[in-house]
Symmetry: C2
Subunit: 318 residues, 2 copies
């Protein structure tokens, strides 16, 4: 982590919303030595967040990011339900409230009244753009989407999506702050539904459902195909690099000349594939998910998956 970039934002972070995304963001900030104020109206939020933070910090320790002494770091975590008091000393705000446009619009016009004038406003929203969230703000360029990949304390990606009114200095500040925290912050140039990662997920998942629907493979086989091929490849290099290398010595040019025509044929077929979440599809998918993953609770499966993700992340750092 780059201490200089961290300093250039300030030491006080306010996390609005203490659900799993907010709590995981708190871990990111705490583990960088920053002060975190959580603002969430829910009863008992303190205990829930502290429990999450303690367990997530031990995951980060496994990852080798220093041995986090939860007790010391948790002293830098406080809770303040009143939004005016929660943001009054904030240098940076990460919002993880309900995915409702009206909620966010009201929130930001309130926050803008009470936060210092230098504070950056970032929303974790996956679907409500900064342009929409900032309609009642007097300086809308202070607000951007900072969409993490779940869970934020493990996954590097943060999609930074400024609104139509933007300030390139503030955009650069948000990117460099996230990067200083060890994240991989990527600027998404234009507001588009789903941003990038969720659009990629949607595109591939349609084909996944199609292949299961047609009886080509079952849900567990499709998942095994992914983890034993494309997943490993894409953990180490993205799709463009992969096809650049798949072309041999001539790289992407070879791909364009020899492999792209076959891909275009697949696209034509895929465009005609009728896939929807109708009742039949839902029932079929639920049954196969249950057959495949039903022996364990979601929490057990998640713990196993996180351990594997930590292991992969660790291996990629070497």
């Amino acid at each position: 982590m780059n201490g200089e970039n961290l300093d250039c934002i300030g030491k006080n972070i306010t996390v609005i919303g203490g659900g799993v995304i907010g709590a995981s963001w708190a871990v990111v900030f705490l583990s960088a030595g920053l002060n975190v104020t959580i603002s969430d109206p829910a009863d008992g939020i303190d205990e829930k967040v502290k429990q999450y933070v303690t367990s997530a910090l031990s995951e980060l320790s496994i990852m080798g990011d220093g041995l986090y002494v939860s007790d010391t770091l948790i002293k830098k975590l406080r809770f303040e339900k009143n939004i005016a008091r929660a943001v009054q000393y904030a240098d940076f705000i990460q919002e993880n409230g309900p995915e409702k446009e009206s909620f966010k619009v009201n929130l930001w016009s309130e926050v803008e009244k009470y936060a210092p004038s230098h504070t950056l406003f970032l929303s974790s929203s996956s679907g409500i753009t900064a342009t929409k969230q900032s309609v009642s703000m007097s300086r809308p360029e202070r607000l951007m989407v900072g969409h993490p990949f779940n869970p934020p304390h493990l996954m590097p990606l943060v999609e930074v999506v400024p609104g139509e009114v933007r300030d390139s200095g503030l955009v650069a500040q948000a990117l460099s702050f996230y990067n200083a925290l060890g994240k991989a912050a990527i600027l998404i140039n234009k507001e588009i539904a789903g941003f990038v990662a969720n659009r990629l997920q949607a595109a591939i998942f349609k084909e996944c459902i199609y292949l299961v629907q047609k009886g080509i493979v079952k849900v567990d086989e499709l998942d095994d195909i992914m983890t034993s091929s494309l997943g490993i490849r894409w953990a180490t290099g993205g799709p463009f690099l992969s096809f650049h290398l798949g072309g041999g010595h001539d790289g992407f040019l070879h791909f364009l000349e020899h492999l792209a025509p076959e891909m275009a044929v697949l696209w034509e077929q895929q465009e005609q594939c009728d896939v929807s979440f109708d009742d039949e599809t839902r029932t079929m998918l639920m049954r196969q998910i249950d057959d495949t993953y039903g022996l364990h609770t979601v929490e057990q499966l998640e713990e196993k998956r996180n351990i594997k993700e930590i292991s992969v992340l660790k291996s990629l750092r070497q």
Copy 2:
């Protein structure tokens, strides 16, 4: 590796075609202690294959699959251009010849004349089905596609795709042999263009090109998004497991009720995205690939990528 299953096939493997796929398959078989005969009419094939095998065996050593003494293993590698002599003692044949239907049809009817009656015939073809390749065979059920993910000696996936005439005993034998070699062999139930992994790649790559074309992100940013999010996730769990876990306590049911509707909206938008490999797109992609990856040769980039892949594969075994 499961010695019993290996024994049930036999010790003699013939690899037809000694290009990079064939040479990489040779590494898989040699490292399991099997005898490998390479049949390829090209001049100088012996030296090329030996060079590839030596370097790939050292990659496997890094992966911790035992310390491979190339000299000992390479003694089990021989070369035989004459196809009749190359297959006469084969227990298992892995074909990696040119992707031409007529070539493969002729090859297999020749091979069938000279190979022992118990020999299994597997083709690495990514596009020509077993049904098409076997039209001149008297026992077409002996031939299946065994499509690896590149490079076969590192990537676990083998898509096993029997033709329309199939024998479930032989299918099971092929699957268990590949699995005994440490591969992840998955049965693809019906012949479909692109099988599974390449269809998934095609579906996502269309969206990748669309996003770059629209100026949402550049090629390098798209690749970074993949490696810092979905790649890590899919190296550890496939798309179905990922959405099962993404739904929290209620798992996939939560996904269907709360996230699937938004995904269906993205599908509608994506269906209308016009993407093709026209001249403008090719030029734009080549320029960005060059800007991003042009500083290094394909070979240098491939070496780096392989090291990362080995590291990820190693981490997933723990």
